[in-house]
């Protein structure tokens, strides 16, 4: 098994894939769905927002290990963030994940487990999908947002 694969499928990722956190529905609140039309993966992100602060976040849907782990880690990470901070985090995560391998990147804490996708350009969209949905849900746009390699800054070879 290659070193790259172990970077992609880190133990944290495999654990969140096996046991996704906050994998449930929510009545009311804000929600949006991320859909990858290339592979059919879907993630619906639900948020309970009080006074511009995310008090609860959960998700539903189906996808690969990277999508599930990314969504699971995200719902843990964004709780108690303000809407503005969460939006800034989405941008930071997008930028970090699409940085070429070897380039210096921000320390994302627990979210750092997702950075293995940098070695697998076509899988970046998987890690980003729940975050695209989050961005839409932050603005209370109950809609389906599509992600594709084109939605990223980095050109996919």
């Amino acid at each position: 098994m290659s070193v790259d694969l172990h970077a992609l499928y880190q133990e944290v990722v495999l654990d969140h894939n096996r046991h996704p956190r906050n994998f449930r529905a929510m009545q009311g609140g804000r929600k949006a769905e991320g859909f990858n039309r290339i592979c059919g993966d879907r993630v619906t992100v639900h948020l309970r927002v009080e006074a511009d602060v995310i008090r609860d976040a959960c998700f539903q849907g189906s996808g690969c290990a990277i999508v599930k782990a990314s969504a699971s880690l995200m719902t843990e990470h964004i709780r108690d963030l303000t809407l503005a901070d969460a939006a800034a985090l989405v941008e930071r995560l997008r930028r970090t994940l699409s940085a070429p391998p070897g380039a210096p990147i921000d320390d994302l804490g627990a979210l750092g487990a997702l950075t293995g996708v940098r070695l697998f350009p076509i899988r970046i969209k998987c890690a980003v999908l729940p975050w695209e949905a989050l961005l839409a849900a932050l603005s209370a746009r109950d809609e389906v947002v599509y992600t594709s390699p084109r939605s990223l800054d980095r050109r996919i070879p």
Binding site: M1, S2, D4, L5, L8, Y9, L14, N17, R18, I38, C39, G40, D41, R42, S62, G63, C64, A65, I66, V67, F120, R123, C126
Partner: protein, 458 residues
């Protein structure tokens, strides 16, 4: 008395038929087709049958330069042939030769190059006609691929024969290319699609098909072989039942022509489509076979140069078949490359390719059955070389990524069959698809890599 015309390269293409049901061949027989090739230097031993047969498979593999490379530091194991096949040297050389020596606009130029290019292009058409055993060469229309072929039929035959309340019958296993063009037509005409359901094994429910045929049915369009399941559909029977009611049948042969002999007269179908790139030929070239009687009455698909015989600002007279359907400068190099590919598989013998792939499919089915938690999608009795599967607790995209790192190329996803995925209640599947150059060693590499996946996601 005139002398016999010189033998052109395509004259050697002959249509071959298996003596009986290809499924009857035993494993050992399956490898016979490889034994007719002249031994060359042996690059790599591929276990297939007896030791003497290995040399021949190495020979076949030597004809395909792209097979001999490493991916992520591992020897390429190419099992994505339903998506596209690799090209033998003969095809690559033919395309290069066209651009090197012939390159010219066809059907119009009076100069020597144009004459040669035109002759070669029309010779390629004859080659295709013989390959499909079409009654007439003018029944062969060059198109970009199956997608364009079906759009052509939907936009011409469909637009003139389908009206409000009419019905078009397709099946639950169709590729989007044999669904969306009909859906567009139905939307435009107020007609509706009727869908032949499939069994859990992935076979058409023929009794339901019978019931779907009504006096409103205008076209039946089905896959010869399912790209996602491997099912070989009983096309002759489908045609027989439709014709009993006077309904024409289009067959999507994308997944058939590289794997078994196809005889359009024997099938009885009215339209048959295939793509060159899935038959070891170039991309961007494909074929629509159409029954002359129907093609003759169909309006043109695209207007432009090449498809006209006389034009004024008031009106245009169209060319005779097949040129009526080939507006613009055609993909000459593609047609010549396709003819070279047809010669290649004809030399090898498609009647021998089928049992070889069948044996490999059986071997693969047994090998993958040993992977814990693996479940096949598509277990039809009459199946082509497609191993589609799911692995408990592992998403197909994760399988695809891990296999890629082991050098094993497969397809994961919905395979352009989203309605079929919905029927199977899965978002995606993993699919290994075979071609004549695949070996048991490669199946073993696939099975080993799947065990690695299993281990990682334990």
């Amino acid at each position: 008395m005139a002398a016999a015309p010189p033998l052109r390269p395509c004259d050697k293409v002959r249509h071959g038929h298996p003596a009986g049901d290809p499924g009857q061949y035993a494993d050992a027989d399956a490898d016979r087709f490889l034994s007719t090739r002249t031994p060359l230097t042996r690059q790599r031993t591929h276990r297939l049958g007896g030791p003497d047969l290995d040399i021949d498979l190495a020979n076949v593999r030597n004809d395909f330069p792209a097979l001999h490379q490493q991916v992520h530091g591992r020897p390429l194991v190419y099992l994505d042939n339903a998506a596209t096949t690799h090209k033998p040297r003969a095809v690559i050389d033919r395309v290069a030769q066209y651009y090197t020596e012939e390159n010219a606009s066809i059907h119009r130029g009076v100069h020597g190059l144009s004459e040669r290019a035109t002759d070669a292009y029309e010779c390629a058409r004859e080659c295709v006609a013989r390959f499909l055993n079409a009654a007439e060469t003018r029944e062969i229309i060059f198109v970009r691929g199956v997608t364009e072929a079906i759009n052509l039929v939907a936009c011409t035959y469909g637009r003139t024969h389908v009206g409000p309340g009419d019905e078009i019958v397709i099946s639950e296993m169709e590729h989007h290319s044999n669904l969306v063009p009909w859906q567009i037509l139905c939307d435009e005409k107020g007609a509706r699609l009727r869908i032949i359901p499939i069994t859990d094994a992935g076979e058409l429910r023929m009794e339901s098909y019978e019931q779907l045929l009504t006096d409103r049915t205008r076209v039946v369009a089905v896959a010869h072989v399912s790209n996602a399941l491997g099912t070989v559909n009983p096309v002759a029977e489908i045609v027989r039942r439709a014709h009993a009611r006077g309904i024409p049948v289009l067959v999507d042969g994308a997944q058939a022509v590289a794997h078994m002999p196809v005889d359009v007269q024997e099938l009885g179908c009215d339209f048959y489509a295939f793509s060159g790139h899935k038959l070891f030929g170039p991309t961007g070239i494909g074929v629509l076979y159409g029954r002359e009687r129907l093609l003759d009455k169909m309006p043109p698909y695209q207007g432009g140069g090449g498809m006209i015989s006389f034009v004024t600002f008031e009106r245009t007279e169209y060319s005779a078949l097949p040129h009526k359907f080939e507006a613009g400068t055609p993909h000459v190099a593609g047609a010549l490359g396709l003819a070279a590919a047809i010669e290649y598989v004809t030399d090898l013998g498609l009647d021998r390719v089928r049992p070889h792939e069948r044996a490999l499919l059986d071997y693969g089915t047994r090998a993958l059955s040993g992977v814990p938690g693996l479940r096949f999608t598509g277990t039809a009795a009459n199946k082509s070389g497609i191993l589609a599967f799911l692995l408990d607790g592992v998403h197909p995209h994760d399988i695809g990524t891990i296999l890629d790192r082991a050098g094993v190329a497969i397809r994961v996803g919905h395979h352009c069959c989203q309605p079929l995925m919905a029927r199977l209640r899965v978002p995606a599947t993993a699919r290994a698809s075979l071609a004549l150059y695949n070996t048991r060693d490669e199946i073993d590499a696939l099975a080993a890599a799947l065990l690695e996946v299993r281990e990682m996601f334990a």
